[in-house]
Symmetry: C2
Subunit: 260 residues, 2 copies
Amino acid sequence: MRIARVRLLSSGAEHYGVLHGDQVHILAKPPFDGIVESRKRVSLGDVRLLPPTAPVDFWGIGMNYGDHLQQAQATSGLPITGTMRPWHKGVGGIIGPDQPIIIPPEAVEVHYEGELVVVMGKRARRITPAQAPQYILGYTCGNDVSEKHSWEKEPGQWRGKGTDTFAPVGPWIETDIEPQGHELIVRRNGKEETHGNTSQMIHSVYDIVSYISRFITLHPGDLILTGAAGISQAIHPGDVVEVEISGIGTLRNPVEMEKL
Amino acid sequence: MRIARVRLLSSGAEHYGVLHGDQVHILAKPPFDGIVESRKRVSLGDVRLLPPTAPVDFWGIGMNYGDHLQQAQATSGLPITGTMRPWHKGVGGIIGPDQPIIIPPEAVEVHYEGELVVVMGKRARRITPAQAPQYILGYTCGNDVSEKHSWEKEPGQWRGKGTDTFAPVGPWIETDIEPQGHELIVRRNGKEETHGNTSQMIHSVYDIVSYISRFITLHPGDLILTGAAGISQAIHPGDVVEVEISGIGTLRNPVEMEKL
């Protein structure tokens, strides 16, 4: 099943809905306590896709693929360990499909990072990896946009990864897949630049969810970035970046320079 | 004016209210677009004080007082610079007055850090320090509870400062004060352990708000910790920690061990 959060172009109202071909079956309530379709149906052409949830928190796990870990070690000076290092991506930067990534003039070198995103379905605290699937609603695509020149080296990465619009997520939540074993491709202006597979993660999705939940409660709708594969590249105004994950879909965002 | 967020003990309903002595005048709507009192009034004894807002994000500014900066440098190995380093405290750990700080068994050395907290009143992006006062609703007390043994040294400080219950805030929002010039006292079990003054901040409140807003939109209700004064001490189950700021009030929380 594919669950999207949509804004009706006619009224501006926001709803969750289930996708059936090019139709959206509007849900009677958010999808976290079970899927209840209302009678309302709209065409995909009559809605704008929003970020798939409005999370309480948006987490990241750094350096979860071998090739990206080497890149990070070489360029960022970050300490590299085998330990999971969750961090707050921050919810302020979240944008949906087709919304522009806006680069502020203070940024020197901004990269895409295409990643599988976990969408939590239930409140979770101190759950085991084996319990994790029951607490996960599904998966979507994310672009962990990052300023690599100097901001990412700052403690906390607040602006390195948290700047407004640096967190594209979408296009929808796929609920019927396992997290590992999916092709993870990033294209810039139609050309493939990185290509990995979520089976190459160092820490599995279920281990990540379990580990965060040992210390901090995960809420329905919370999002977790699970790491970039491959060697990320810089993006520039005028570019279009696509993150495609097999079995989910494609998240596409144009890049613009901030107008001051 | 003192604005609190309260839960009515009778119905469980949550409201904002204005404090008049021991009476709470319930507001007709959240206080961010102007204060509109409803006709409903309740006694302070008939409500529970909640965290003063439910923010989109909760920010921190590390090492903003000279004595605490020296402590951080000596014990945490964090790089010390003159630059502001905002970080995500995270909203998951927020608790209100009198709620317990719960220490997980994995934590080795947990400290209080008493701090002035800024409460944003309006959406703010790229505002100047001179404009900041118009965007701030008021101030409250915060306890930036931190695991100092090893977690705080991890990049992102996700569990070092973000563990559930590690973010007590309250008791209410004082709207009629300037941010600098207030006594900032932390007591453990009734005994004063740190004593500073918000005039000793390295970066002023208005500079901090302006700096974050250059990169990330601040939302109504967002909170910003402005740094601890003095040499923080460890807390243990059974302790009661008070953060008192002159002109605002006292935030009091007991400490418990997590029961697994």
